[in-house]
């Protein structure tokens, strides 16, 4: 996993686990279980890109995302260039011809790379992060359609995510929020040509439309956000720090997408009408499985000061059947009950819950 080993002793791990399992949990940095770490964000920081964003977390981790677009000729499907990862477009409800054509849109038009200092590009953990973010973005099938120009051409979007600081915690939420903002600030040149002719674009950058329209009927989907949630005992903690992740029983990355309900049926809708949709989720291997186990003082050689092979052997035997002892750290074994995972999902999707809070916070960011 992307995390390096934490330098906590078994006793510290046990203490942390106990205090986080309390109700309400006591987190080392004093946050409540649903509180995010404060962050600063800005968009449009890179003039050479179609869209960019920078997010800086209070613990000093910082990420930059740059979005670049290029025009590419659409290869005929039967010509067969790359057959991986197609986006299955939503079942067309028999729309117009253009709608039908847009079904050609493919997920591979989006290229995403994640760079984390100290890790190789092709490290499994980095690839996992990139695939996780990419999958969330493509899951609704709407994104690739935005890149469609005409039957012969399409945009190829390069999304480069760079973590500037060393990864002090699992960088998933940070990278996801930065990507979200960068995509919101992304603009593509306005198309002047019509139909299937070679595309011509408006030179005026001011006239260029946003990839995700701000207002109007088209302001439907928004880029997804991915939240990392961990379960420690009975507590569910959002935005875990590295230390909290080190004692987590299970960790789940939940990606959700905000769907703005159209104002047409205004009888029901309030202004902040926002529906959260689950688009993808993955369990993340919690680093707690690799933490060193504690030794109860009854079984500690240094404490008893004797070395007796026979008693030692018995201990080895009994270590197996030992029940968890209070205050002695033991790495979690086995999986997670679905009820726990489900309560995590419910907590994420809850109306007026954490996800809403995060989205409200992101809305406050000035999009330039």
């Amino acid at each position: 996993m992307a995390n390096q080993q934490t330098l906590l002793s078994p006793a510290e791990l046990a203490y942390l686990h106990t205090s986080l399992s309390l109700s309400p949990p006591i987190r080392p940095d004093g946050r409540t279980s649903k509180q995010f770490r404060p962050l600063t964000a800005e968009t449009g920081i890179l003039p050479g890109t179609n869209g960019s964003a920078r997010v800086c977390l209070a613990d000093g981790t910082e990420a930059i995302v740059g979005v670049k677009a290029e025009i590419e000729k659409t290869v005929d499907l039967l010509g067969g260039e790359h057959y991986q990862e197609y986006v299955k477009s939503a079942s067309g409800a028999g729309g117009g011809d253009a709608e039908e054509d847009r079904r050609q849109a493919r997920g591979e038009w989006l290229e995403m790379t994640v760079e984390i200092p100290g890790l190789r590009d092709d490290d499994a953990g980095t690839v996992f992060l990139a695939e996780l973010l990419r999958e969330a973005l493509l899951a609704d099938g709407e994104f690739a359609k935005k890149l469609w120009i005409n039957r012969r051409f399409h945009w190829r979007l390069y999304l480069d995510i760079i973590l500037i600081s060393p990864p002090l915690s699992y960088p998933l939420p940070l990278l996801s929020l930065t990507t979200h903002l960068a995509l919101l600030s992304t603009r593509l040149p306005r198309l002047k040509s019509e139909g299937d002719e070679d595309p011509m674009f408006d030179d005026d950058w001011e006239a260029s439309p946003f990839l995700y329209p701000r207002q109007g009927a088209a302001a439907g989907s928004r880029p997804p956000i991915t939240l990392l949630v961990v379960a420690v005992g009975d507590s569910i903690l959002f935005d875990p720090s590295k230390e909290e992740l080190a004692v987590a029983d299970s960790a789940l990355a939940v990606s959700l997408c905000e769907v703005r309900t159209q104002k047409a049926d205004e009888s029901m809708e309030v202004d902040s009408g926002r529906e959260l949709r689950l688009v993808s989720m993955r369990t993340v291997d919690p680093p707690s499985r690799l933490t060193p186990p504690g030794v109860p003082s009854t079984g500690n050689l240094a404490a008893s000061g004797t070395f007796d092979p026979s008693s030692q052997k018995k201990q080895q035997q009994q270590r197996v059947e030992e029940f968890p002892q209070e205050g002695v750290w033991k790495a979690p074994l086995g999986g997670t009950r679905f009820a726990v995972l489900d309560s995590i999902i419910q907590a994420v999707l809850e109306k007026g819950g954490v996800a809403d809070e995060v989205l409200d916070g992101l809305e406050g960011v000035d999009l330039s």
């Binding site: 092979p309 030692q312 080895q316 009994q318 197996v320 059947e321 086995g334």
Partner: protein
């Protein structure tokens, strides 16, 4: 013992019996008050070894302690399974390299099991013998190529298991002289080449 209720074959996750009635042996673990198999294999139940001497008369009803429970273990017959050296095991190792403060060995056998892979171990100068530890010289205790019987005292660091020969029964059991002949032990600290008559110093294991 109600052995007939036990399954004869087990796969990982098979529930074998309540933890109150049995003790968990190799190849099993305890989960939710039950002994659960953690290996694929045959289920064995071994009754506790009867204490020698007359059985104590029972004068009150007590729950049997852990010592009295029969042990369930899961072992796959007819199949060699990799074992790891563990603390307390007696191992056979071959000396590969000498350094002033320690000898590097390769563990080749744990108990009666020959290992598939080689694990590196180290015998530090203070672990060579129990007495006069300050006078021990590694070069007078081992030579590369010797076969040593030793005990594992620690899982050690990233590379080495820590071994000790600090007991009469532990030490060099097979050695070759400079001339290339097999030698015989003649005292607790010497091996002798029967052909050339030259004796060489070693930490000799007491022949059993």
């Amino acid at each position: 013992m109600a052995t007939d209720t036990l399954p004869s074959l087990a796969i990982p996750g098979t529930i074998l019996g309540p933890a109150s009635k049995y003790a968990a042996g190799p190849g099993t673990h305890v989960y939710g008050g039950n002994i659960v198999s953690s290996l694929l294999g045959n289920v064995n139940v071994t009754s506790p070894a009867k204490a020698p001497g007359p059985a104590k008369r029972l004068n009150k009803i007590t729950a049997p302690s852990v010592e009295e429970l029969s042990t369930i273990s899961v072992i796959r017959r007819g199949r060699k399974r990799e074992v790891l050296p563990d603390v307390g095991n007696t191992v056979l190792a071959r000396v590969v390299r000498l350094m002033p403060k320690q000898a590097i060995v390769v563990i080749q056998q744990v108990g009666d099991t020959v290992l598939q892979t080689e694990w590196q171990g180290v015998i530090r100068v203070q672990d060579v013998r129990a007495t006069e530890q300050d006078k021990v010289k590694i070069h007078e205790s081992f030579k590369p190529g010797d076969i040593v019987r030793a005990q594992v005292i620690s899982l050690g660091d990233q590379a080495n298991y820590y071994l000790s020969t600090a007991s009469n029964e532990l030490g060099v059991i097979m050695a070759t002289s400079d001339a290339g002949n097999d030698m015989v032990p003649i005292s607790w600290k010497e091996f002798k080449d029967p052909d050339t008559g030259v004796s060489e110093p070693r930490k000799v294991a007491k022949p059993s």
